[in-house]
Symmetry: C2
Subunit: 369 residues, 2 copies
């Protein structure tokens, strides 16, 4: 994998870049739809291709439990399994494992019980790499330890120590050469812990970093403060991946600070609960006022759904629990995000990002539903 | 609407024909996917077009409750509402109404409580036609009364009397000329009641007839016996629509007897519970033996799903409750039925229907899962 910064904004820290993988190029800042179980919920790989998605993220922990990594290895990897030929990232699933109720952390790894069948599993950094190598994504993530209590200094300190130690072991256990391993930075809201984590991970020398342990309950101002601090302490050429965010307004803020990569399950999650992203803000398509609204979900959108179906029809489908409604709304929301990111990159390229950000913020904040 | 019988089989009573509507031609014997709420569950109208579906059926009663017929009227009819330009049938919904627990039958119509909000509704034959005219399908059905107890002679007799009376009123209240009204034949398992119903409906003179009150609990031999009897008593040029059936083996049997039109929600229903139709019979795609099966759902199928996805992947999606799994399996099952009907028509045309029927029956019965 190669990552190049192509242009930097003069007014902000925003930048555009390019990731080159064996499965194709990805333009940054990039939004990755989430395919937790090897599928972006309600959509096919053909849908994603048609939408213009460049990279998706799936979850090693979830795939390890179901269908089991051997199945994916047997068919020749995740790209073949889900019929998606473009770049893929696997999250190691550390975050999901440490969110479980029944989990025990040891120096060597994590012991947990599967929620699916109660079976016990022991995941070490080496095991996590083995799993991710069998899955075969283009970019894989270190097995890190994300603390449950963001405000507990001792727990965060332990998480940083384990995360560094595990990152080394992840790097050393890598056998395949065609996968790029990213580090994950922990350290909570404590600058000195973040700095230590960055320093040690930089000694191992990853080409990209996940920003971990953020947006897990801490005040938003802290998220911003720590994100800025991490970016300041990272070499410019390293790819910056803010994990688990975000919606358009969050993305604008983080792009402005210099983030390159995003993933967020909320975009498709809210689609299934009836929220639609539009150029004028988020709307609740289930509302009565759309009953006779025969305009598209977003009049400024040219996606397959907006060209063919009305708000009235999609409202009807979602309100009557028709799966097709969830699918049409998901398709549109993902399309919206991909077009939104294209615009973000164009605006950075044209030196108009700062104005664009303000315009969108004003538009969206005026029309909050 | 025009219906022409194009060719009759020499060995059986099977026949091929053509329905010509304002929205295009339909070849018979035809299988209509069920779009109860103006949507074939999990599929878009584009999917149906791609599959080669020629006609679908939706339900006036369900659409009357949600989204309300005015919404559909306001956008200019059901074709526009669901973005489907080919022929559409509306079932009047009599069957659904009389299946409710809280329903009262009067000479004038049916009073029932909506399951959605408890509101009270009174549907008369005139009201049913008004609803179906607002919806605007190409073929609409008389508001009939299907008895709950198929074995109760008195109830069946009443149902025939009301059905005849209501059929007259339906015909008289029709205001639109571009919709074809079909009668529905009741009479349970009693030949004399069936005959009376046919005679009276024929006096009103419909161009097609729904076979009602069958497959509602009576022994299968009775279904067959009565179906044969109805066909014998109907003029050959009238279209014969067996309502609510069927799966491939049932269709073969009914086509052999001379049925032209079918609808069946089971094909998509079982798709969502994990049953897949294949040229070798029905399989349960959730079964463990398909875990590492990287062949298509049906190796003899060339549909979009079979060209791009494996049994292993679709099994994984359905077992993890991913909506995309339901969608892929539904797409395939509907495609299977459409191709199956094409083959049925070709075999009738080539004088090979009887052999074909035997082959399929042997194949499917050998491989029952």
């Amino acid at each position: 994998m190669e990552f190049k910064v192509l242009k930097k904004d003069s007014q902000t820290k925003a930048r555009i870049g390019e990731i080159i993988t064996l499965h194709g190029k990805v333009q940054t800042p990039c939004f990755m739809p989430v395919a937790t179980l090897a599928n972006v919920k309600t959509l096919t790989s053909e849908d994603l291709k048609e939408i213009g998605v460049e990279m998706i993220i799936t979850n090693a922990y979830h795939l390890y439990l179901k269908p089991g990594v051997e199945v994916i290895e047997n068919i020749g990897g995740i790209h073949k399994f889900m019929n998606w030929e473009k770049p893929i990232v696997t999250d190691s699933g550390g975050f999901q494992i440490f969110s479980l109720e029944e989990v025990k952390i040891e120096q060597d790894g994590a012991i947990f019980k599967s929620k699916l069948d109660g079976s016990t599993h022991f995941i070490t950094p080496e095991k996590s790499i083995e799993i991710q190598e069998k899955i075969g994504a283009d970019i894989i993530m270190c097995f890190d330890y994300c603390p449950k209590n963001w405000a507990n200094y001792e727990e965060v300190k332990t998480s940083v120590e384990l995360t560094i130690n595990w990152a080394k072991r992840c790097k050393e256990s890598q056998k395949k050469e065609n996968q790029e391993l990213f580090g994950i930075i922990q350290g909570g809201i404590y600058k000195e812990l973040r700095e230590k984590c960055i320093d040690e991970l930089e000694k191992i020398n990853f080409s990209g970093y996940g920003f971990g342990g953020l947006s897990i309950g801490e005040p938003y101002q802290e998220t911003i403060r720590i994100t800025e601090y991490i970016i300041k302490n990272l070499p410019e050429k390293k790819l910056r991946y803010f994990m688990g965010i975000g919606m358009p307004l969050q993305i604008l803020e983080l792009v402005e600070m210099g983030i390159d990569l995003f993933d967020c399950g909320i975009v498709t999650h809210i689609a299934r609960t009836g929220s639609t992203l539009t150029s004028k803000g988020k709307i609740n398509i289930k509302a009565g006022k759309y009953k006779d609204d025969f305009s598209p979900l977003d009049p400024e959108c040219d996606c397959f759904v907006c060209r063919n179906y009305t708000r009235s029809y999609i409202r009807h489908l979602i309100n009557t629990k028709e799966i097709t409604g969830l699918r049409l709304n998901s398709y549109h929301n993902v399309y919206f995000m991909i077009k939104f990111m294209e615009k973000v990159r164009r605006k950075i390229n044209d030196g108009e990002f700062k104005n664009f950000k303000e315009e969108i913020e004003n538009e969206w904040k005026r029309k909050m539903e």
